[in-house]
């Protein structure tokens, strides 16, 4: 019950956030364009993602590998 409530709350907050999008001019994107704000994995994380995909059953949805390479050592 608590989990369902948290999921529902998260969905509502997300919908509010998405519906409140504002249009930004280029000069207003200084924070959004900061390198720490990139919506990607860090380059230095590359091998961390590899070992996690080998040691855990779940993988994907993180722009990492979903196949290829054994890594079974």
């Amino acid at each position: 019950m608590i989990n369902q409530f948290i999921k529902a709350l998260a969905c509502i907050m997300l919908m509010i956030a998405v519906s409140s999008c504002v249009h930004l001019k280029e000069y207003q994107k200084s924070r959004i364009n900061d390198s720490e704000m990139a919506l990607t994995n860090r380059k230095v994380e590359k091998n961390e993602l590899n070992f996690q995909s080998y040691r855990e059953a779940a993988s994907g949805a993180n722009a990492g590998k979903t196949g290829g390479g054994c890594g079974c050592n």
Binding site: H23, N50, G60, A61, T66, G68, G71
Partner: protein, 450 residues
């Protein structure tokens, strides 16, 4: 009078020198003097030559990984495998990974930006489990992996679209992998959102290396007076008394194919917040187990891992990055995963980069992970001999995991250590623990050159 005459002559000479200096061309840049009366020479733009190929960026990432654990899939989690009542031996599992990526950029005739990424990776690993493919521990406990990659992307900045193709190879002693992908992205009309799609196909071969007790003995056949000696791997090493040499061992292999469709949508919400939705659909078929993973069935019978030949995975994820104030950023990520083997998983991570200066940041992070067990998993001597599929690989068991650490990023405008070409350096350390007793540490460093 004489003084007045000399003064006039001197002044005259100085004026002539100054006038001469003003009419001479600029000796530094050697540019012609523009005239108000003559039209300035115009460049011919009808024959514009696109920008030539240039090396835009070089990235080098190196990592050292060290792991200890008490459950080995090679030994089938057998506590008596080593004959001393302990689960594992003292050989550490380590991995030293190195990757180099080059990014080449050029503009084509339509002024679209083309990017060619060339990658090369090299890993060296040692592994306790690998040594015990042979029951005596006589197998090699180390190995290497080489994985080059190629990616080409063309981007139309006016339309906000991009399209690309990629190729990938990974080779190690017991596993070969070849991959291809195609990717596409398009930005929304207001450039505040971006949709991306990627299709990937991996076509792998699993070399059939069995535990030593399952390798058939060398056979000797005698046909029509010809004696042929054939090894367990199918190599004919002797025919009619003469040695037959093979340049490479001919171990059989099985296919493993992976097809992935990845979709993502990112959106800028406001000047401090941006989010992204990610989803993959992954279909696998072929040999999805590893032939050197032992399983001990009830009653102590020893066999090798057997898993279904198909698997479907469905992970969906969400990212949100938020800039608080002027120095602190929140990088949050959540993923839910489900697959056809009965595994459900949650992954959540939070990283909080703190910008000490605009060019130096410290980023502590924490990642939580949990999963349920696969339908086909059971530990040592828990599988029934009547089970259709079985594995004792703890990767498929129920467990939780935590991963925490800290990263440092430095990117000063005059280059790291004053070296202009080294524009960025990152160092990151992480400590990982599973409730299966697996513990590992990883330290990574990356250098970005421009």
């Amino acid at each position: 009078m004489k003084k007045i005459f000399l003064s006039v002559v001197g002044f005259s000479i100085i004026c002539r020198l100054s006038a001469s200096a003003q009419t001479k061309q600029d000796s530094v840049f050697n540019k012609p003097v523009p005239s108000l009366y003559a039209p300035v020479e115009q460049k011919d733009t009808t024959h514009y030559s696109p920008r030539r190929l240039r090396l835009d960026e070089i990235d080098f990432v190196s990592s050292y990984y060290n792991q200890t654990g008490t459950h080995s899939s090679v030994t089938g989690d057998n506590p008596n495998f080593f004959g001393n009542g302990v689960f594992t031996n003292s050989i550490a599992t380590t991995d030293f990974s190195n990757g180099l990526d080059l990014k080449l950029v050029w503009l084509n005739k339509a002024l679209n930006k083309n990017t060619l990424g060339i990658g090369m990776g090299f890993d060296y690993h040692t592994a306790a489990s690998q040594a015990f493919v042979s029951k005596t521990g006589a197998s090699r406990d180390n190995g290497t992996r080489v994985y080059p990659s190629l990616d080409w992307t063309v981007e139309n900045e006016k339309k906000g679209t991009s399209f690309g193709l990629g190729a990938y190879y990974s080779g190690e002693y017991n596993y070969k992998s070849r991959g291809l992908d195609a990717h596409f992205s398009v930005k929304t009309a207001d450039r505040m959102g971006e949709f991306s799609a990627k299709l990937q196909g991996y076509f792998d071969r699993v070399i059939q290396i069995y535990p030593s007790e399952f390798i058939p003995n060398t056979t000797v056949t005698n046909t029509g007076g010809t004696t042929i000696i054939t090894t367990a791997s199918g190599n004919i090493i002797s025919a009619n008394g003469e040695t037959v040499r093979h340049s490479k061992p001919q171990l059989p292999s099985n296919p493993r194919n992976t097809f992935t469709a990845s979709l993502s949508y990112s959106q800028i919400i406001n000047s401090r917040l941006q989010i992204m939705f990610l989803g993959d659909a992954v279909a696998q078929n072929g040999d999805l187990g590893l032939p050197f993973h032992r399983v001990f069935l009830q009653g102590g019978k020893d066999t090798i891992e057997k898993l279904p030949s198909t698997r479907f995975k469905l992970p969906v994820g969400f990212r949100a990055n938020y800039f608080i104030g002027d120095n602190v950023i929140l990088r949050a990520y959540y993923r839910y995963y489900v697959d056809s083997w009965g595994i459900r998983s949650n992954t959540a991570s939070l990283e909080i980069p703190y910008k000490v200066t605009p060019f130096f940041s410290i980023s502590p992070f924490y990642r939580y992970y949990d999963q349920t067990a696969a339908k086909y998993f059971a530990p040592f001597e828990a599988h029934s001999p009547t089970d259709q599929f079985y594995t004792s690989n703890f990767e498929y068991s129920k467990f939780n995991a935590g991963f925490y650490g800290v990263g440092f990023r430095i990117a000063p405008p005059n280059g790291v250590f004053g070296w202009q070409n080294l524009h960025e350096m990152e160092i990151r350390y992480g400590h990982y623990t599973q409730t299966t007793d697996l513990v590992s540490d990883v330290v990574s460093v990356s250098f970005g050159f421009k």
